[in-house]
């Protein structure tokens, strides 16, 4: 194989990976259903890591009664959480370790189990726990995530595979503009 062919293969591989990363998230943004999720206060010691904010949702901690599985889930397992719209936010109803069958008005969001305490609760991450922010803009969001004077909610796009992407942050129902 000539050097030119080798380099071309390498460059094409890199471009495929980059386009794939962009395409994967963009597909979810374009085709996903927007839902509003309620956030919960975060431990202020772990709030900032550099220039991004850690977000925690009500659906990040699931009571074990919601998980409808016989076998005990373990760390690293994928979990599919079925959501139904409440008054304002989407709430979890059930959760399964495989793709569930949905009824009308339901969607599912895919997550990964981070920890599981038998008969108590499971902590789940959905890939939407990080939000990058410009420098100096974090204080407003920080206060909102702690629920000090305002409340933070997040609009998330969820596609038919359960993959999710953050679309917009809201503080007291007003969209947050950071740029």
């Amino acid at each position: 194989m000539s050097l030119k062919a080798k380099l071309t293969i390498g460059i094409v591989c890199q471009l495929i990976i980059l386009v794939g990363m962009v395409g994967f998230k963009h597909f979810t943004l374009l085709t996903g259903k927007p839902i509003l999720l309620e956030t919960v206060p975060v431990d202020p010691r772990s709030l900032f890591r550099g220039d991004y904010v850690i977000l925690r949702y009500k659906i990040s901690r699931l009571k074990s009664g919601i998980i409808k599985e016989q076998k005990m889930p373990k760390r690293g397992d994928s979990i599919y959480v079925v959501l139904r719209k409440g008054d304002e936010f989407w709430e979890p109803t059930t959760a399964f370790l495989s793709r569930p069958v949905l009824t009308e008005g339901e969607i599912f969001i895919k997550g990964t189990i981070v920890s599981y305490r038998w008969a108590k609760s499971a902590r789940v991450e959905y890939g939407i726990e990080t939000y990058f922010i410009p420098e100096g803009k974090g204080r407003v969001i920080e206060a909102a995530t702690r629920g000090e004077k305002s409340h933070l909610s997040v609009e998330v796009a969820v596609d038919r595979f359960g993959c999710s992407v953050i679309r917009q942050l809201f503080i007291d129902e007003k969209p947050v503009k950071l740029e």
């Binding site: 194989m1 050097l3 030119k4 080798k6 380099l7 293969i9 390498g10 460059i11 591989c13 890199q14 990976i17 980059l18 990363m21 962009v22 998230k25 963009h26 890591r49 550099g50 220039d51 991004y52 850690i54 760390r75 690293g76 991450e125 890939g127 939407i128 726990e129 990080t130 939000y131 990058f132 922010i133 410009p134 420098e135 992407v165 953050i166 740029e179």
Partner: protein, 467 residues
Amino acid sequence: MHSEQPQGRKSSEQFRRWMRCEIVLWKKEGLIDSNVSKKLTERYSDESGERLTLSRRLVVITSILGAVLMGVGAILFFASNWQTLSPLVKLITIFIILLGTYFATLRFLIVKEGYPVLGQALLLLTCFFFGAALWLIGQVYNYRGYFPTGVLFWTLGMLPFALTGCSSAVLCLASVLGGVWMGMDLLQFDNPNAWYLLLLVPLLGVTYRTKARFCLTINLLGFSFWLGAFCAPLIDRFTMVHFNEGMLCLFVYLCLGIFLYCIGNLHLVSPSAKSMGAPFRTIGLLTILGVTYILTFRSLLEEVGYNPELFIKMPPALIATLITCWSLALASTIAGTLISKRSPEKPAHTGWELGFLILLLLTAPCYLLLPSSLIMVCLILFNILLLLEAFGLVLLGLCRKQPLYVNLGVATVTVLIFTRYFDFSLKLLSRSFFFMGTGIVLLLIGGLLERTRRHLIQRLKESRNVS
């Protein structure tokens, strides 16, 4: 036997090389003494070649350093949030920069053939920019802050360049990042990812093909770390009760260390593969020394609560696994020694080496059977064992003219002395006297050991020059 004098000018490379060989023969035959030999060697040294090698090295180092600095700068630049640009503009900018780098790399590596070193440096820069692009895209779409998959993507993106032998620097970077991904994934999920082996196998293949010893060392370190992470939960799953997984892991690591060392010896079977044995021997020795060093700590041994009932309850599958590890180490020891003896190198004292390795293997099962009543005896024996290993390495290094063995041996003795000093002095002396006294003792010991090490290395060099 004298070779035929090459025809041509006196200053030609061939003539110089011929002269250097003749000078060695003249000295052996006693026609000239060391002084004259040295002067003649200097006169006919490969000056132009050395100058060329030096200047080439300078170009390589400068280019690679420039590429690394640019790459790090790019990553830092991209890592800070771009406040004024929209996500779309950010993406377009990064793709334009990346395509520009690809173009420059192709141009200097293929079109303009007179700049191979610059082309290689640009290829490395391309890989850094690719990493920067990954993290920027992650930032735009709010991928996780802790993103081991990003490191995996970075490694996979470099893999075609690494596997096709385009650049040894890229191969090294891919090896390092593969290990980093494995470590980050392990931290996230507590279990080692088996896909790391799938990544490791082709990297090892290319490492051998290109004789990249540094990359081989990195990959062996990654594999050793992976194996330990693999064994610990496996042992945990096997045992129904807590059976002191630490000692079982140490047993497995000792077998691994001996296995790797003997694989290094097996490389002596072929002159072309000989040089690739050194990383195996190095990692193997470090593992063996590391395991023995850990066993010299009282706190660790005191945690071992020997309980015959627990040992009897050990599942057969676990016992079979441990026996398999031990047998593999034994088989590699015997094979390695046989190959060493039959190789053209014929390293010195292979018998002593074999004996010592067999002794280590025979004592290894004792780690699992330590009776709590004999803890102090075991502690003393392990300290003596470590000293024997260290002195054995120094002697072997002197006999085989291997500075690495000497350095490892001296370093082991140094670390052991310092550790034991801290162990005992901290308990016996008040804090202020401890720190002052320790400082003075450390300075003295450090100076003494450095002098001893230099003396040993000097002796090695002199004996090499003579031969």
